[in-house]
């Protein structure tokens, strides 16, 4: 940032552990999620979805559905109105093919094949069942070791599938010690507590859409394209998301079908996905099979890391889990080689799921690091410190900031890591349960997208800050308001913060752990601009005590501008605006990455996670009994919320290591545990003790706010730490996740 004459005081709200500003709404049931909207004249829609994973729909008993009392319309490919765009057309890297009843083809189990609209939810739901589809099914591919392995053109969004730094094969050949291991991670489904839902109401060629969105502007553009209406005719409201985790980043097929149904029937329509229908058309984390090869010299310094990932996309579209990314920047090795290949399966297209790539890659890399430490007879923390990357190992760039050493130290101290026995199966608790301690390094790139914001100061001394930001639980309503308040020199209770609405300035996407940094930067620049305009008014007005402050500059604080060189001389916003005869004054701002900084620095948040597990020595039941994570992610806007983000991420790590997996029958391609009873996510009792340490880190380069993301890093490191703790408890190295009882008790000694 260029130094200007105007300097704002930061810190009055930023850094404070404020409680959530949306808290009272959320604890009273007054927070309105999409499905809570019941406009007059509402009809209910339900989807019929395919039970086969490949083939075509041969018949639907539309008459039976229509005969059900209350059914108003049945929409199938036969009568679906034309769309303005082909849902199979790819228009950009964030464009994915969707099933909008364009034909009778089935490309995965759970694909929408018809919509039933009815006067009641009960009628719509049963109407959809009465369609009793018949299929012409084809054989399916559902497993990673299928035929036709290929190298994708890109992984994630536009990343190269292969990366080579140095000669990894030579490094491995020259190594004194080496390990090679293969790890499997399963398909996972986001399972936000709030199912995807949409309430759509058309008025001519204008539409109002209540639907959860992590990317309002993307949603508007997609709706505009599909329905052939101008973006300004589309109003999307998403004040609260009941969790997103990536699955609400891009508007999904079912959400568009709800809008389509409303247009066709000419009445408002509500469509809420049943939980079982969330295992198909709204994305998932692809499975991976990863082979890590590590070599070290005699002192434990890495000579090479080779990381190969096999993953899968759908048969009809591309999204390849970028699981190799963590290996590029985490440990200092003179040679690093990563490769990705893939197969195509008869599933819905995978998508971004909390720490896409990083989560899967991290559990494999951290497990391999642990295996290497074991092979060396070294403490796993010491081994990581031995290979600490002072600069980004692959690119050679300096880090914009990196307090990982402090994370290791503070985390280890808090956990009590010192004195951990090297040998596995050497600790028991007072009840005879096996106890194991493991650790892992957490890492996540510090990203920035693009956002806009608007700030207004009003005659009464209050302010308005607005950006179409998304609060999916991370706390945008609070953290962004804190940033806005500081940038406008106002107490947070003096500003009205508006977000979650497509009519507000585009806040980009809530993803990549970049939303606070990006939308926050836009708010800050808008606030600065409006304060600068106000200061200009005052400094150029002879009647103002600030007249002529000029080069000395002014400070904005608590609704007043003060001369920097004499804070006794100041004037309130009200008074400046009143004298200027203005009702309000507006500033606009943008947030975006600084290309120069990105060119010069490698930017990542880091952390260290220490885990204790207890394992029943005979039965193999595992519990993650204690977790300590220490994370450094630049400036902390609100420590209360950041703490919660870390804890939530760490619980996802628990889930990754021990609990969640889609069970797919390879014969049918159907997810057989498409419910929350058997798709296990952790319950309260799974998390008896968890703690996050917010390690101080100052980053002058990453962005204007010094903020790195905190939403996803918690999964990384944690999942591996738990896997390593399971090994330490039992002596059994499980390489297929989540850790299954049968893997643990196989070949166990009788105890």
């Amino acid at each position: 940032m260029a130094e200007t004459a105007i300097q704002l005081r930061h810190g009055s709200s930023i850094g404070q552990p404020l409680t959530r500003r949306d808290g009272p709404l959320k604890v009273t049931g007054a927070a309105t999620y999409a499905a809570d909207n019941n406009p007059p004249g509402l009809l209910h829609a339900a989807l019929a979805v395919s039970t086969v994973a490949r083939g075509r729909v041969a018949s639907l008993d539309v008459a039976a559905a229509r005969a059900h009392p209350g059914v108003a319309e049945v929409i199938t490919p036969a009568n679906r109105p034309p769309l303005a765009a082909d849902p199979d057309e790819k228009t950009g890297p964030f464009s994915f093919r969707q099933e909008l009843l364009q034909n009778d083809t089935v490309r995965y189990a759970g694909q929408p094949i018809a919509i039933v609209v009815a006067e009641t939810l009960e009628a719509a739901t049963e109407g959809a069942r009465l369609l009793a589809p018949r299929y012409e099914a084809e054989p399916v591919l559902a497993e990673l070791d299928g035929p036709d392995v290929f190298t994708p053109a890109a992984i994630g969004v536009g990343n190269a599938p292969n990366m080579q730094h140095g000669d990894a094969e030579a490094g491995l050949a020259a190594a004194e010690s080496s390990i090679a291991a293969t790890y499997d991670t399963p398909a996972q489904y986001h399972n936000a507590m709030e199912p995807h839902a949409v309430v759509a109401a058309w008025d001519g060629d204008r539409v109002t859409v209540d639907t959860p969105s992590q990317g309002l502007a993307f949603a508007v553009m997609r709706i505009a394209g599909i329905f052939g209406i101008p973006p300004e005719n589309i109003h999307v409201r998403s004040p609260f998301l009941g969790g997103g985790f990536g699955s609400k980043g891009l508007i999904s097929g079912p959400q568009l079908l709800g809008i389509l149904a409303a247009r066709m029937v000419g009445r408002p329509v509500k469509l809420v996905l049943p939980r079982a229908q969330m295992y198909g058309p709204v994305g998932h984390r692809a499975p991976t099979r990863q082979t890590l090869r590590l070599g070290t010299d005699s002192k434990g310094a890495l000579t090479a890391i080779s990381h190969h990932v096999r993953t899968a996309s759908s048969r009809y579209d591309d999204f390849f889990e970028p699981a190799v990314g963590v290996t590029h920047s985490l440990y200092a090795a003179p040679a690093i080689e990563t490769t990705t290949d893939a197969v195509r399966l008869d599933t819905g297209t995978p998508t971004f799921m909390r720490a896409p790539g990083e989560a899967s890659g991290s559990i494999a890399l951290e497990s391999a690091m642990d295996e290497m430490a074991v092979a060396l007879g070294m403490d796993p923390l010491e081994f990581r410190l031995r290979n600490y990357a002072e600069v980004d190992p692959a690119s050679g760039k300096p880090f914009s900031s990196k307090a990982l050493r402090e994370c290791y130290a503070q985390g280890a101290a808090r956990f009590g890591w010192a004195g951990r026995p090297i040998a596995p199966r050497s600790m028991r608790d007072e009840n005879g349960l096996l106890v194991g301690w493991g650790m892992g390094t957490a890492t996540f790139p510090a990203l920035m997208f693009a956002a806009q914001a608007r700030a207004v100061l009003r005659r009464d001394g209050s302010g308005v800050a607005e950006t179409g930001a998304h609060d999916m639980g991370q706390g945008a309503w609070t953290a962004l308001a804190q940033i806005a308040a500081d940038s406008m020199g106002l107490d947070i209770d003096r500003i009205e913060f508006r977000a979650g609405d497509s009519r507000l300035p585009d806040a980009g996407i809530a993803g990549g752990s970049a939303h606070t940094a990006t939308a926050g930067a836009a708010l800050r620049s808008a606030g600065e601009e409006v304060v600068a305009k106000l200061a200009e008014l005052a400094m150029s007005d002879e009647r103002s005590p600030l007249f002529g402050a000029g080069n000395a500059g002014v400070v904005a604080r608590n609704g007043r501008l003060l001369r920097r060189d004499d804070e006794a001389r100041g004037e309130s916003y009200e008074s400046i605006l009143a004298r200027a005869g203005l009702e309000e004054i507006e500033g606009k701002g943008r947030g975006a990455a600084d290309p120069a900084a990105q060119e010069h620095y490698s930017m990542h948040a880091h952390g260290a996670v220490f885990a204790e597990v207890k394992v029943d020595p005979e039965l193999g039941q595992v519990r993650a009994t204690r977790l300590v994570g220490a994370f450094a992610a630049g400036t902390v806007i609100n420590p209360r919320l950041v703490n919660s983000q870390y804890l939530g991420g760490m619980i996802w790590g628990v889930s990754f290591a021990l609990h969640e997996a889609a069970v797919v029958d390879p014969r049918s391609g159907r997810v057989m545990n498409a419910n929350l009873a058997e798709y296990h996510v952790p319950v309260n009792a799974d998390v008896p003790s968890i703690e996050a340490i917010l390690v101080e880190e100052h980053d002058p380069h990453v962005n204007a706010l010094g903020v790195k993301g905190v939403g996803e890093i918690g999964i990384t490191g944690t999942a591996g730490a738990i896997a390593n703790a399971v090994w330490h408890a039992t002596g059994v190295r499980v390489r297929q996740f989540p850790v299954a009882i049968e893997a643990l008790i196989a070949d166990w000694p009788q105890s």
């Binding site: 039970t51 086969v52 059900h68 009960e122 739901t125 049963e126 069942r129 079982a276 007072e430 009840n431 005879g432 349960l433 207890k614 029943d616 005979e618 039965l619 193999g620 039941q621 519990r623 021990l658 609990h659 069970v663 797919v664 029958d665 014969r667 049918s668 159907r670 057989m672 545990n673 009873a677 058997e678 296990h680 952790p682 319950v683 309260n684 009792a685 799974d686 299954a740 009882i741 049968e742 008790i745 196989a746």
Partner: protein, 352 residues
């Protein structure tokens, strides 16, 4: 959910008559039935609401020493009934290890007996399931079956019964009281559920219209109170169905086992009483070797129905664990994590 007629009879007799019409189903709390109906797994044409029938809601000690549980007593109510829990602590522990507090507040004792298997292929109307549609075949065979049966299964069906409650009840020789078109009858719980054989669609001895009105624990069943445990292996710490479970009860005399009861859950299409194991235990010393021998006897004849051979050894181990915990004595209070292998061992013999 399909459309249905809803009727709410005032008496047991009316309920039995109403439900004798083909296509009828009894509705109590509905915690399992509504789940199945929403999934299109069952489609009854008529629901006979028995949730308010008089006379089915008592928990009572009978003059002859037996103990009677009305069919619509809620799971939580029973588990927290002090007299009941003191006499039958393993039953209380099993109840509290099942489902969630919300479900336990609603689900009834009778309904618990009649809950359907969690076999994913049974729950998925697009899969072949002989239980759902006789003669359709069994997609669980050769499918995702790591948690399926290892005892008493057939080529027609390899599902398991999901109840926790029924496991200690079977061990204790509970009796099911039934009212039906033909009058009243009683069936030992051990014989109430049917193994699949070639007719997996027949899950219990109930005939159309027959209503479970009560469960009865026979006189003397509370003689095991001091040494009674239920242990349940799960894939998360709570709110999960059993991988395998075991209920063990011992009546100790001096330093030896005078009488033992053992039943397994999660291994078969019914709560599996292990009488061979009980015979091994009777008169033996309560040590690890004895428990292991008993556990091996309990799993005699077990064989995998798919990718689930590990469950056989797990079932042996959990049987031995339950016996060891029972021998250590019933804890004064049910552990914070009921039936969990991870709960601290708090066993203290209440009375000798």
């Amino acid at each position: 959910m399909n459309r249905f007629d809803y009727i709410r009879p005032a008496t047991v007799a009316e309920a039995v008559t109403a439900a004798s019409v083909p296509g009828s189903a009894f509705l109590a709390a509905g915690t399992n039935l509504l789940d199945l109906m929403k999934g299109g797994v069952v489609r009854p044409e008529r629901l006979v609401d028995v949730s308010r029938l008089p006379g089915l809601d008592a928990v009572e000690a009978l003059p002859d020493g037996a103990f009677r549980i009305g069919a619509r007593v809620r799971n939580a109510e029973l588990a927290h009934d002090r007299d009941f829990a003191r006499r039958f602590p393993a039953v209380a522990e099993a109840l509290l290890s099942g489902a969630s507090a919300q479900l336990r507040n609603a689900a009834t004792a009778g309904g618990n007996l009649l809950q359907r298997t969690r076999c994913a292929y049974f729950y998925d109307p697009a899969s072949a399931c002989n239980k759902r549609e006789p003669g359709a075949g069994c997609d669980a065979l050769g499918g995702e079956n790591r948690l399926h049966a290892v005892l008493g299964w057939s080529e027609s069906c390899i599902a398991t019964h999901p109840s926790d409650f029924c496991v200690p009840l079977a061990a204790l020789g509970a009796v099911v009281e039934i009212e039906g078109p033909g009058g009243r009858r009683e069936v030992p719980l051990e014989e109430f559920h049917l193994l699949p054989g070639s007719t997996p669609e027949r899950e219990s001895v109930l005939s159309p219209g027959e209503l479970v009105v009560a469960l009865r624990l026979p006189a003397g069943a509370d003689a095991f109170a001091a040494h009674s445990r239920y242990v349940k292996l799960r894939e998360r710490t709570s709110y999960a169905f059993a991988v395998v479970s075991a209920a063990a009860m011992l009546r100790m005399e001096g330093g030896t086992i005078a009488e033992a009861r053992l039943a397994l859950g999660g291994v078969a299409l019914k709560p599996w009483r292990a009488r061979e194991a009980e015979a091994v235990l009777a008169g033996a010393r309560p040590d690890a070797a004895t428990f292991r021998r008993a556990a091996e006897a309990a799993l005699e004849g077990a064989h995998p129905s798919g990718e689930n051979g590990f469950k056989i050894e797990l079932a042996r181990r959990i049987a031995a664990r339950a016996l060891a915990l029972a021998a250590a004595g019933t804890p004064e209070r049910i552990p914070a994590l009921p039936a969990s292998p991870l709960a601290p061992v708090t066993g203290v013999a209440l009375h000798g």
